[in-house]
Symmetry: C2
Subunit: 277 residues, 2 copies
């Protein structure tokens, strides 16, 4: 007989950030299993308390905030300019991204009223800024934003209703340098996040052109380039390249965390540690 | 005859961050005024372009983000622990703050559905964390959050729909040290923000107890202390002190900016500079 954890046990162990190995243990009898659960839970609770104590005494900033600061430093160092834009955006700007009723993302948008919603991505705001900046600044225009985006997600292991995106963009670079640019940005962000052994996957799409995804077990980021079919909605004609990363996913990949909830904005977790311990 | 700017002229000069003196100029004739407008506009546009260029070449981070980083550094240095909590909160947690239908703030809340809204303040989430942390950590518990809050505001010179709050709190300090604590925090935050000549105003309220406001022309921050009538809704029994500041207002006070829109999250302004120039 090979018994697995009960649903309730497994849920609790996941909350406590048990490793894959701990979650996949099997047992010979109910008694064995329940004894093991008590042991593992105690072990994980003790680890959690220790981690929380170190957080209080030494780190004092959530890893998500620290990662944000490091990315800001690395990117401004390379000449990218940070921007911060509204999280409340218009239905019209979503439509310019082709996100209308029939788009899969549309049903995931949080609406505030008929005309306003919470941004599900950073791109529409960056397009808007591009249009002014390309008139005011010499090319290439290098801007990035790090900020909260919102999607009604299933709240699975990789999804959050509120998550933190980084979008790095360069507008007005030569077309033949875009692919290298994407590789360089992926490398810069992975180095800064402390992630090694990731994979780059190039995909071609009739609609969206070439994209470059960064994978480590799951998708960490996705790069795109233009000229792009959406550009004309924003009055953009120059070539560009841009890369989006989910910061919570970068932390998951680095820490080997099993659930993204523990790392994002939360009232149940503090810096990865479950608080009902 | 003493002519003022036309409404349209005044609006444009405000957008361009004209000083109080520039906004209050008076003229002898329409011709004088219109000539002066062209002059002032050209002057302000040139200043704006210069500022935008320095922003690109040197600063590279919005002042709002820089101020946030400085506050984080100053507070963690003093032993305060940073937290980041959800911007989407429950109707129930608003009710625990006594913000129900009959509360003036209620009509300013952005609702996502019947049960969820965008936080109009940081306090409910910090109360929630206090309750767990007071069980897990020795007292005093020192935590702070810096993050976006949302209110349907008239969008006047001092109000934004999305603004950045800092709440610094200490739970479990001696009652006789709370007032000094508030003064110390006000001083720390004002020093960090580079604001001198501010005033502290103590108010007493039957409902909310003593509060300490920081004023420089307008309200920059407001401190409160407990035991407090709301504490029992959250199961909190220890004395506490807490201070909330609006980061955009701190920047307005320091820079002498005439409109808060230019300093907050925006698509029309970049770091205080209007983009339609």
């Amino acid at each position: 007989m090979a018994l697995e954890w009960t649903q309730v046990q497994k849920q609790r162990l996941k909350e406590l950030n048990a490793s894959k190995e701990q979650l996949n243990l099997v047992f010979e009898s109910h008694a064995d299993r329940d004894r093991a659960f008590q042991q593992q839970e105690r072990l994980l609770v003790n680890q959690a308390k220790k981690k929380l104590s170190e957080f209080r005494e030494v780190q004092r900033r959530p890893s998500l905030c620290e990662l944000e600061s490091k990315l800001v430093e690395a990117l401004t160092e390379k000449g990218f300019v940070q921007v911060i834009t509204p999280t409340i955006i218009s239905k019209a700007s979503l439509a310019k991204m082709s996100i209308t009723d029939d788009h899969p993302l549309f049903s995931q948008v949080f609406w505030l009223d008929k005309k306003r919603c919470l941004r599900p991505m950073l791109a529409p705001n960056l397009y808007t800024l591009w249009k002014d900046l390309v008139r005011l600044w010499s090319k290439p225009i290098r801007i990035f934003e790090i900020g909260t985006c919102y999607r009604k997600e299933s709240q699975g292991a990789y999804h959050l209703n509120e998550f933190t995106m980084l979008n790095v963009t360069e507008l007005g670079l030569p077309e033949n340098k875009r692919h290298q640019w994407l590789e360089d940005i992926a490398s810069l962000v992975m180095d800064t996040a402390g992630i090694t052994d990731y994979r780059l996957v190039t995909k071609s799409s009739n609609v969206y052109g070439d994209t470059l995804d960064v994978i480590k077990g799951f998708e960490l980021g996705s790069g795109a380039m233009g000229p792009h079919v959406l550009d004309e909605n924003w009055g953009i004609i120059d070539p560009w390249a841009g890369f989006g990363f989910g910061l919570e996913r970068l932390l998951m990949a680095r820490e080997g965390t099993q659930n993204v909830q523990s790392i994002g904005r939360s009232l149940s977790y503090l810096n990865g540690v479950r608080l009902n311990i």
